[in-house]
Structure formats: C-alpha cells, structure tokens
Assembly symmetry: C2
Homo-oligomer: 249 residues x 2
C-alpha cells in the first residue's frame, strides 16, 4: 500500500492546470536544487514529498516519504526527481513596483519555457520585477518553474493590465520596446532604469502597447536574408545584456 492517497495524487496532478493552481493558491516545485532554493526563500513550502533517495535532510513539519513509482505518478517530469514540494503562490502587489530600476514587461509571452528562461535571465541581470500582461503564460506552471532553475524565488512576477500599467508608468519612466525596425541597440543610449517590453512569440509587441513605447530598439541582423526574427528569450538575453553592459563602458 502506498503512502499517498489516490485523492492526494489527483490533487497534485491538478496543479499542472492554472485553474486549479489559482483555486488552491499552490504550485509544484520539483528537483533537489529547486526545492532547496524555495525552502531557503521567503516562499511558503506547504508540503514535501520525497523518495528514500532524497539526498539531504530537510527540516520541515510536513514531509511524506513515498515510493519512486508514486513520485513518478505525481511528477510533471519525464523522469521524476527525488523530491516534490507544494508551495504557496505569493501575492505580488503592483503598487510596490519601483520607479528607479530596470523592469521587464511581457506582452503576452505564451511559451512557458520562454517565460522561465526570461525569469532566469532577469535573476542573472539583477532585474527584480517582471510585469506580465494577463495573457502571458503563468509563472507558476510546471514547465516555467522548471525552466527558472530556482530564479523564481528571487524575482517578483506581477500580472496586470499591461496597457494600463504602462500608460500610468510612462510619465515617470522610459519605456523601451524591441522591434524589427528601431534604433540600433548596440549604439542606442540606454539607462539603468526604465521598462523594457518584450512581445509575443508570433505577433511581437501589440499595436496598443507599441503606442506607449518611448524608445524603439532593434537588434541588427548580421546578414540580409537571415532568420526573420529571434526567439523571444534569446532577444531578451541580448537586450538585458546590452542594458547591463553599459556599466562596463
């Protein structure tokens, strides 16, 4: 007989779906490194499931040891790891957003892997806040959490009406956006604060949001007849890198 009920398994599996994550205000974190990062963070880890191979001892009031086959049944990974945690979804207040640092804004980023990679990039480049449109992928979905590699513990992700947010922000902040045509990002003047908007994978930045962009930037392609566009996560990498490079000039 297993250590985890059918009902419990069903509940954990349901957290792969946003509707149930929102209802329970819980999400799933898997893997030793990620779970230990969440345990060391301000996030509240509600419950931990682990197998007997789980390497290091953890102080937590609610740990249940389960079998590897049970773990596979509750895991979102092809090959489950030794530990899975249920973590409380934080509330991030839009009012708390700072005016004097660089923020990222995401206009309907759809792919969970792209979103996770962007959160990891933000962490590397010291960008503390990501403001997402309401149609952006959910930061607490299993693929996104996995792709952040623990960076989600350090980055505040806010979901809001992006148009309204940028409209109210653009008096005090420069709003940068990347387009196929714009100022060459390598030679453009970039400040250490402001809001950099990244657009949807297929459609780019939507026309309404584009209307609020005060500085249009472009990553020049090296040759004509090349790829039509860059993947949004790699474009974000180049943009964040360019903003931060200016420190070393």
């Amino acid at each position: 007989m297993g250590n985890i009920s059918k009902q419990e398994k069903k509940r954990i599996n349901s957290l792969a779906v946003k509707k149930y994550r929102d209802k329970e205000r819980l999400f799933v974190v898997e893997g030793e490194k990620s779970v230990s990062e969440f345990l060391a963070s301000s996030f509240k880890v509600r419950k931990i499931y682990c197998t007997c191979e789980y390497g290091f001892p953890v102080q937590h009031p609610d740990i249940t040891q389960i079998t590897s086959s049970e773990m596979q049944q509750i895991s979102n990974l092809k090959t489950a790891s030794t530990v899975l945690a249920l973590v409380e979804t934080p509330s991030v207040e839009i009012d708390a957003l700072p005016n004097n640092e660089l923020l990222l804004a995401l206009d309907d980023i759809q792919d969970p892997g792209n979103l996770g990679t962007i959160i990891r990039l933000a962490d590397w480049f010291g960008i503390n806040y990501i403001v997402c449109s309401l149609f952006t992928a959910d930061a607490y979905g299993p693929k996104t959490v996995q792709a952040t590699m623990g960076s989600l513990t350090r980055i505040k992700v806010v979901y809001t009406d992006l148009y309204a947010f940028l409209k109210s922000a653009n008096e005090k902040n420069l709003i940068y956006g990347t387009f196929l045509e714009g100022e060459n990002i390598y030679t453009a003047e970039l400040s250490g604060n402001g809001i950099a908007v990244m657009g949807n994978e297929g459609k780019g930045i939507s026309p309404e949001i584009a209307g609020l962009v005060s500085r249009k930037l472009s990553i020049p392609a090296f040759v004509n007849n090349a790829a039509e566009s860059l993947n949004v996560a790699t474009a974000t990498a180049i943009i964040c890198s360019e903003f931060r490079r200016r420190i070393y000039q």
Copy 2:
C-alpha cells in the same frame, strides 16, 4: 479509407528516432513556413503530405493529400499543421570549414530545443557553420527542426570528434570558451573570426575541450547571489551579440 498506409505512417513516425533518421537519411519538417523554406533551399524535399487546408500551391513531383486526422497521426506536433515534408539529410564535410570567419562549436548540447534556438541565433548573426561534438543533440530531430524556424536551411551543422577538430584548428584559430570565471566579455577584445565553444547544459565545457580554449570569457552577473548560470541558448545569444556588436563600435 485513408490515403496513407499503416506502413507509411509507421515509417514517418520512426523518423522521430535518430537511429531511423540515420538509416533512411531522411528527416521530417512540419509547418507551412518551414516547409516552404526547405523547398526554396538546396535541401532535397523527397515527399510532401498535406491536408486540403494547405494554403498555397507547391510544385513538387510527390505530393499526397491526406486527412487532418491522418496528419495528426504522422505529426510530431501537439496540433499538426497542414503540411509535413520528408527531407533528405545532407552530408556536411568537415574539410570545407573556413578559417576566416566566426564558427560556433557545441560541446555536448543535449536539449533539442536549445540546439534549435542556437541554430536560429547563428542564422541571425551570420554564423554559417556549427561544429558539434558527437554527443550533441541531433540537428534533424523534430524538436530541433521546429525550434530553428527554417534557419536549418541556411546553417551547416557538422558532427565530429570535437576535441580532434579543435586540436587541429587551434594553431590557425583563436578558440573562445565561456566559463563562470574568465575575461569580462563586454570589455574583452573579440575578433570577427575564431571558434566560440559552448558547453553542455549541466556540466559546461568539458575539461579536455577547456584545455584547448585560448581565450576564456565570462558573462558577468549583475548581482551576487543571483542565478548560478544562464541557459546555454541565452548565453550563446549574448556571446554572438557581443562578437557582432564590435562592428558598430
């Protein structure tokens, strides 16, 4: 009765596996944009399957119209597109590699999505050749082909013993590698040619390959206590961007 036999379906599905791709010297390309790019390229498109929704007419001696449900059965996508092509795997000769341009070398990149994104980046940044270690993911696997968004038609991907290749190349070429510690990439002198080595997702550049690197580079993190590393595709984006940025200085 369908227009495609059980055996044919089985054969197409088998091409998701490298062993069968190697045996047949064929790979699968899906989606209108990608298929049209392959048709316009020097690749040989052996056969095309399309549904009645396939938007534009194509001149090809071997087109079979199938139903949407047959298409879903042979597709590697969650939601099949209207067209799927069988394309001949090219032979790329290692001897043809140029000495006077920038190349990328991949030391055991495992994730097909990362490889595809890197191929797309190479296309954007005018890097014509990617030299892969024998344990690098296969450029002709379905996920990789999908992630290249057609860039695979323009980039030559060579698989070889990477250590032997770099050993013979490093008399004539600077070999760059990215490490957690190295010269700050933003201020390092970078040339328009040479070989930039990117390491495995988990382990980075292997010790033997590291021994052949003549210039160790590092992407500085903006803050301490940040993400431990960057995703290899985003790191490649930043590195390619830095090499090409120097043109605009």
